[in-house]
């Protein structure tokens, strides 16, 4: 068998994911987390705060929730069931920062916790911030240059 033939053979032999169940679970878990975000938003608006503050405060509260559930050892169970429904919301971002922070505590607070904290979420910051800078610069070029 050639390498390619074996790889195709392996693809055929692989157990297929339970597509429907996974999709439904992702929909429900992701939807519920966003629903919770909406509840928090509406609640904060009652204090007469502006849009920007409410948005940021909602993010902070959801990040706290994701961090807390990770600390309690619950978020990984949510992720097991919800898949992308737990990874895509901002609570998943928190989980990806808190879980390595907790894990690498054994290697100390400088080289463990602090150094490894962004080992999973790092790309989110790098690509997010970099692409936003490019957007800002393009905006300037297109509005002032044009």
């Amino acid at each position: 068998m050639t390498n390619k033939e074996y790889q195709q053979y392996v693809e055929r032999k692989k157990p297929k994911p339970t597509y429907f169940k996974n999709t439904l679970s992702a929909f429900i878990v992701g939807g519920l987390i966003c629903l919770l975000g909406q509840i928090i938003r509406n609640f904060l608006f009652r204090f007469g705060l502006d849009e920007k503050t409410v948005s940021t405060a909602t993010s902070i509260l959801l990040i706290f929730l994701g961090s807390f559930l990770t600390g309690l050892g619950i978020y990984d169970k949510i992720g097991k069931v919800g898949g992308a429904g737990a990874a895509v919301p901002i609570t998943g971002f928190a989980n990806s920062i808190v879980s390595p922070a907790m894990e690498f505590k054994r290697e100390g607070f400088i080289f463990g916790v602090a150094a490894r904290m962004f080992s999973i979420a790092g790309p989110v910051l790098v690509y997010g911030i970099s692409s936003s800078i490019i957007v800002g610069i393009l905006y300037l070029l297109l509005t002032r240059g044009g």
């Binding site: 990984d76 992720g79 879980s99």
Partner: protein, 339 residues
């Protein structure tokens, strides 16, 4: 002159060593699995009072080796060589264990094939007249492996159905130049086989070609066939790799359907324990062999076994660099009699 070499990759031992003592220590999850009554010690807590998973794994390996030596009615100073290895960077579990035991030590890296790699080298050391007593051991730990190869424990990623569960535990075998069996009679050393599988979550498929190659070569070198064995068992191909091996060996003309299984499939109840494809890790073959297989051989329920531990020789860095996963499989024949 290689007078004991037969065929291309096999050695027929002329002074087959006997297994005179074994020990197995496993974590709580393994202790709830189908083989739970075969293990010497089942831990209630996989940290075993230690500060880190790595230190716990070293302690598990150390205690397993000490227990095996004591089961053989020997003391550590009687042992000529220790052959051991594990999955962690720089095989620290084994080295820190060897530090405590003060036995002349050969550290090995065969990933999950370490059990048979160590049995192969240990048996050769005795057969060649280099040692009277040898200990062959290995260990793995779910949490220390996860944090090195995959993700932090609390990370919420979903595991695909092909993924395997690293066994927490250690197994040790004491080999002696004198004894009444079970004997190690043949050793077939594997070559690395890599068919380009890059998915580290599907290791069974990556390692199956190596197992197929070694087992086929073993039959060709020795002239034996599948029916000459009570049990042919691979280390950790698990459910997916096992299917592939049965299918492809069948296509080569070897029917293994009657007496072949895999340690990764036997150690966990895939459904009840949600371990997806099955167990993996160096300890998988080690505890299934030193616990279940050895005890069944002593009872006489199994008399001739071909143990083929399988290893995936990638690293976290090699997969990130786009390299595929090379596999290896080492086979040893364990026989209750010398006929």
């Amino acid at each position: 002159m290689a007078i004991k070499k037969i065929g291309k990759q096999t050695v027929k031992l002329q002074n087959p060593p006997s297994i005179i003592g074994t020990a197995t220590i496993v974590g709580p999850k393994e202790g709830e699995g189908p083989l739970k009554d075969y293990f010497d010690i089942v831990l209630e807590d996989d940290m075993w009072g230690q500060e880190s998973f790595e230190k716990a794994e070293a302690k598990i390996q150390e205690e397993a080796i000490k227990l095996a030596i004591s089961n053989a009615n020997l003391s550590t100073s009687d042992i000529d060589y220790l052959f051991s290895g594990d999955l962690l960077n720089q095989i620290t579990s084994s080295s820190y264990t060897a530090r405590q035991l003060e036995i002349p030590y050969f550290g090995l890296y065969g990933a999950c094939s370490t059990m048979t790699e160590s049995l192969s080298l240990g048996a050769m050391a005795i057969d060649g007249g280099f040692a009277n007593y040898v200990v062959c051991a290995t260990s793995s730990h779910f949490s220390s492996a996860e944090r090195q190869f995959r993700f932090p424990l609390e990370y919420g990623a979903q595991r695909p159905l092909t993924s395997q569960w690293t066994v927490t535990g250690a197994g040790a075998t004491v080999l002696s130049a004198t004894g009444n069996g079970p004997y190690i009679t043949y050793i077939t050393t594997g070559k690395i086989k890599d068919y380009g599988i890059t998915d580290a979550n599907n290791m069974g498929s990556a390692m199956a070609p190596a197992a197929i190659d070694t087992i086929t070569q073993h039959f060709q070198d020795t002239g034996y066939s599948p029916d000459d064995y009570d049990l042919i068992i691979t280390g950790d191909l698990a459910a997916v790799g096992k299917k592939i091996l049965l299918d492809l060996m069948g296509k080569k003309g070897y029917d293994l359907s009657k007496n072949y299984t895999d340690c990764g499939v036997k150690i966990f109840d895939g459904v009840e324990q949600d371990t997806h494809a099955g167990g993996s890790g160096c300890a998988c073959a080690a505890v299934v062999f030193n616990g279940y297989i050895y005890k069944e051989m002593i009872k006489g329920n199994l008399n001739r076994v071909l143990l083929v531990a399988t290893g995936a020789l990638h690293s976290p860095i090699s997969t990130l660099q786009g390299e595929s996963i090379p596999g290896i499989a080492h086979a040893v024949t364990i026989d209750n009699s010398l006929n």
